[in-house]
Each structure stands twice: as structure tokens, then as C-alpha cells.
């Protein structure tokens, strides 16, 4: 039996597979497709202080080996999450990570204050990288100074809960952003969020998404995600969570090989709603393929030329 447990940033996970924000709802949507307790963790849909209706339709478009989305962080607000969703989640067995969305530093602080008081919330993930919304997120994610400020503020209000800063790839040097998060006191960074993209229709001569721009995700972005994780792992000493295009156990191990402590699975949940569970089942087989009997041995063992 290969031990799949991972420990980092004060979190203890059964396995390194965490479902990514916005692709797994509040977890409950998937409870008939697999036992949520088997997941390493669940990052819930982005939460804001007040409910948000999100962007107009159409909001999603399928692209070769990927998709664009401009949901605009539609969510019922943090209070409704804590009241209606969190009590139904198996938070004693599986790490429930709250993904936070806000437009100002004080708002991020307030959100962190509300969430960190909850026993069922294992960690806070700060979305500084949402490229979908015309103001707010994008500003933080592209400016290392802002990333540091937000991180400091959230950390101050986190009551000791681990703070994960989720980075945008839509920057010139993502390692600088990771360093800014580390300087601000982040316990970990997760990357990547979606790549800014666009789709158009020559028949209607209109953009496919009502928001015009959207975030690209799925297998198409995996090479970019691997590159980013590689650059960040070499620059910071805090744990890194790899995200982007992971659809198989092999994909997950690729990120761990680069040094990731754990990974998040996003768009793959749409391939079929039990995909994250299948990836977990498949990890032992993929480990054999990687000639490894422990994640610790594999982690960061990349042989550079």
C-alpha cells in the first residue's frame, strides 16, 4: 500500500487531490458520484461578502482541449455558504478550503475574519487572479505589492488558519508574485488560475462570451501551468499547489515531480463528474509507472539537464 497522505502548511490531507474552485460547486453537487470523504480536499466556489449574480450569459465556451469561462464569481455570499452548505460537507474528514473573492484589501480582510471563525474551514485560498471581472481581482493579481498587502491583511485575520494565495498566470513573472505572497506571510501558493482568452463567431461577428474575455482552463493549459509551477518552486520556500489541466493521475504526478505539495483538479470534473475520484484510485498505478513508492521521494526530484 502506497501512502498517499500529504502534509503541508499545517494541513493533513488523505491524498494530494483537491478539487479546484468553481469546478466542483460546493462539493454537494458531486456527492452521488463519489464519497466526498475520499478527496484530499475541496476548494469551494469563490465566495464574496455579499451574494453576487455573476456575469450575463453566455458564460462558457468549449475550446479545443479546454474551455473559456466568465462566470463572474456568481455565489450566494459567505453567510449563506456557512449556513446552508458547510454543515452538510464532511469537513472533519476532508479539508474544506474557502476560496475568497473581494475587490479591496479591507473586504478581503473582513471575509477572512468571517471564514476563519469557522471550525469547518480548513484553510483560506485568496483569489487574487480572477481575470473575469472587469475590476478588482485582476488589479491585485498583476501587482506584487498588492499581492503582499492582501496577503498580510488576510493573514492578520486568519486566526492561525493556513492562507493559500492563488496566483494568476496573466503576468510577466509569476515567481515575483509568489515571492510577494511569501513575503506577505502566505503559508502556501496555488497556481495557476485561468489564462485570459477569447473566442469569436465569424457568422455573428460577435464574441462568444457576453463578457468578451474569459479564462482558459483544461488540458490545453497544462504546459503553461507546469512552466509556472516549475518557476515558482525554484523561487519560494513555501509549499506550492499545482493547478492547470490535470485530468489523470499521471498529470498530478508531473506537478508533484516539479515540487508541488498537492494539486487541484478543475475542468477535468466536467469530463465526467467522478473524474477526481478516478484520479485518486489511479494514483497507486501511476506511482508504479513513475518508479516511486512515496510521494515524498518523487516530490521535486526533477532531473534538470
Amino acid at each position: 500500500m502506497i501512502d498517499l497522505r500529504v502534509e503541508f502548511a499545517g494541513l493533513v490531507l488523505k491524498n494530494p487531490i483537491i478539487t479546484a474552485s468553481g469546478t466542483f460547486g460546493f462539493g454537494l453537487e458531486f456527492s452521488s458520484f463519489g464519497d466526498l470523504k475520499r478527496l484530499g480536499g475541496i476548494v469551494v466556489k469563490g465566495l464574496s461578502l455579499k451574494p453576487r449574480e455573476g456575469n450575463p450569459m453566455p458564460r462558457v465556451a468549449e475550446t479545443p482541449c479546454g474551455m473559456l469561462n466568465a462566470i463572474g464569481i456568481q455565489n450566494p455570499g459567505v453567510e449563506a455558504f456557512l449556513r446552508d452548505k458547510l454543515p452538510l460537507l464532511p469537513w472533519r474528514e476532508t479539508a474544506i478550503i474557502a476560496n475568497m473573492y473581494a475587490c479591496t484589501v479591507p473586504e478581503f480582510g473582513e471575509l477572512a475574519g468571517v471564514l476563519s471563525g469557522e471550525e469547518g474551514v480548513a484553510a483560506l485560498e485568496v483569489n487574487v487572479s480572477c481575470p473575469n471581472v472587469t475590476h478588482g481581482g485582476a488589479v491585485f493579481g498583476q501587482d506584487p505589492t498588492q499581492i503582499r498587502k492582501v496577503t498580510e491583511e488576510v493573514k492578520k485575520r486568519a486566526k492561525g488558519k493556513p492562507v493559500i494565495v492563488k496566483l494568476s498566470p496573466n503576468v510577466t513573472d509569476i515567481a515575483l508574485c509568489a515571492q510577494a505572497a511569501e513575503d506577505g506571510g502566505a503559508d502556501a501558493v496555488s497556481l495557476i488560475n485561468t489564462l485570459l482568452g477569447m473566442a469569436v463567431d465569424i457568422r455573428t461577428r460577435k464574441p462568444t462570451l457576453a463578457n468578451v474575455l474569459g479564462g482558459l482552463s483544461g488540458p490545453a493549459i497544462k504546459p503553461v501551468a507546469l512552466r509556472c509551477v516549475h518557476q515558482v518552486c525554484r523561487k519560494v520556500s513555501i509549499p506550492v499547489i499545482g493547478i492547470g489541466g490535470i485530468v489523470s493521475a499521471e498529470d498530478a504526478l508531473e506537478f508533484i515531480l516539479l515540487g508541488a505539495a498537492a494539486v487541484q483538479v478543475g475542468t477535468a470534473n466536467f469530463l465526467r463528474p467522478d473524474q477526481s475520484f478516478r484520479i485518486i484510485d489511479d494514483l497507486p498505478r501511476a506511482m508504479i509507472k513513475a518508479h516511486s513508492d512515496s510521494l515524498g521521494e518523487l516530490r521535486g526530484s526533477l532531473k534538470l539537464p
Binding site: G25, F33, G54, E62, G66, L271
Partner: protein
């Protein structure tokens, strides 16, 4: 085979049971029954052929047309990448399926019920008619563009009172709308159920609200997950709030939705 059974939705891999005589843009897709014991007509399933690979990361939503002990049947019109691949399935190809999803149509017994189908919108009504407790109360009105032979209409018209109208050119549209509205007028106090293209549903909704006729419409949106998680398929409810068509619909009372 009627009843609501949403909690036990699983992903299954099932065999494609049919063969195609010749390539067509309208196909009847029969799969092994994935272990469904019941469903409610108007519900749908997400389909994805196993050999699709990663190029098309989403499943595709299709109304469940009929279910029996051995098999489940869909009617698919080829409109793009996924449907053209489904129409080229070969015997014993494996299809990944999750469902039944969504809510389905009301089926009150002994209530005069008008079924309004536009094009492929006829698909869910096949099972609706077969499962209805009092089919003598049903009336099917079918508006279509392609030849009637492409649809499961003939089979259905043997079971209930039915009529069809073909739109041969856009000039026919006013006539078709007039026929729809006249038919609906006979169902004040009854129930109207509609499934078809969005402009068709808008016409039905406008008339139902104007004449205060109880009506339900089945909406079509592009779907990525089909289970309420991605928020890519939303419409506005009666209060203007975004709700997922896959999880809260696809069937909505006309008073509760903005089309």
C-alpha cells in the same frame, strides 16, 4: 418507469446498441440501460463517447426519450462537433453517461394537456406519452422544419391525438404561431408543455402569460457539467436571479423564468 430519482445519479459506461443504415443528421441513439429504474420525462442525461479523448472536454445534454428495462433512447440532431461524433458511433462503442438529471415535466392525471414540440423538442414527449397515466387527455402539436420522417412523430401519433405542421420557409412562421396560440387557447384550465428552440418557447411563454394558461417550458443552454456546479448554464428566474438550467430546470413554469 416514471418517478423522480435524483439522489442516486451515477456515471456509467454503457454500450451503443444501434447501427446506422446510412449517415444522417437525425439519429436515434440507443444505449444499454445504465441501471436506471425510473426517470421523469423531461429529464435529460449528459453523454460523452469514451473515445472522444480530451479534445471535447464536455459531455452533451440530451432529453431522455424513452427508457425500458434493457435500453435508453435519445434522439440527436447533428449540429456540431459532439453530435456529429455521436452520429458516427459504431456498435459496442462505449458511451459515458450521467443522469437522469434535472426536474422533468409535470404529469397530472386526467388533466387536458397540450404538448408543444418544436423540432428535436419532440424527444422527451415520446416517453411522456408512453408513461402518462391518462394519455387520452394528451394532444401533441408538432412544428418541424425537416421531413417528418426524421422524427419519432408517427409512432407517437398512433398513441395520442396529434397534428404536425411543417415550416417550409420563414413565410410559414406567422401561420404556425397562430396555430400554436389557437391550440393553447383550448387549454385554459388545462396544462401546456413545450420543448423546442428558444424563439418557439418565447412565443409559448408570451401567450401563456397573456391568457393566464398554466404552462411549462423546457430550456436549452450550453452545458459543461450538467450537475449544477459550473454555473455556465444559468437563466434568470422570475425574480431575475441566476439559476442553473441543468439543476433547477430544464423545465420551468412560464411564470418562473425569463427566456
Amino acid at each position: 418507469m416514471v418517478e423522480r430519482n435524483c439522489r442516486e445519479v451515477k456515471v456509467r459506461e454503457v454500450r451503443f446498441l444501434g447501427t446506422w443504415d446510412e449517415p444522417s443528421d437525425f439519429v436515434e441513439l440507443t444505449l444499454d440501460n445504465p441501471g436506471w429504474e425510473s426517470y421523469r420525462p423531461g429529464q435529460f442525461a449528459m453523454l460523452r463517447a469514451k473515445h472522444w479523448g480530451l479534445e471535447l472536454p464536455w459531455g452533451r445534454p440530451f432529453s431522455i426519450s424513452r427508457v425500458d428495462a434493457e435500453s435508453v433512447t435519445f434522439f440527436v440532431q447533428v449540429v456540431g462537433r459532439g453530435t456529429s461524433r455521436l452520429a458516427r458511433l459504431r456498435p459496442d462503442d462505449v458511451v459515458i453517461i450521467w443522469g437522469p438529471l434535472g426536474n422533468g415535466f409535470s404529469a397530472p392525471p386526467a388533466t387536458p394537456t397540450l404538448l408543444l414540440a418544436g423540432g428535436m423538442g419532440i424527444a422527451p414527449f415520446r416517453g411522456y406519452i408512453e408513461n402518462h397515466p391518462s394519455p387520452e387527455f394528451l394532444h401533441l402539436l408538432f412544428a418541424h422544419r425537416a421531413s417528418i420522417d426524421f422524427y419519432p412523430y408517427l409512432n407517437m401519433s398512433e398513441k395520442v391525438r396529434a397534428e404536425s405542421i411543417q415550416e417550409r420557409s420563414p413565410d410559414d412562421l406567422p401561420l404556425i404561431i397562430a396555430r400554436l396560440e389557437a391550440a393553447m387557447d383550448e387549454y385554459e384550465g388545462g396544462l401546456v408543455l413545450a420543448c423546442g428552440p428558444t424563439p418557439f418557447l418565447r412565443t409559448v411563454q408570451a401567450h401563456a402569460l397573456k391568457k393566464n394558461i398554466r404552462a411549462e417550458v423546457s430550456l436549452e443552454k450550453t452545458m459543461a457539467c450538467g450537475v449544477g456546479a459550473c454555473l455556465g448554464c444559468v437563466c434568470k428566474d422570475g425574480q431575475g436571479k441566476h439559476v442553473q438550467v441543468c439543476a433547477r430546470g430544464p423545465v420551468f413554469a412560464t411564470a418562473d423564468v425569463q427566456i
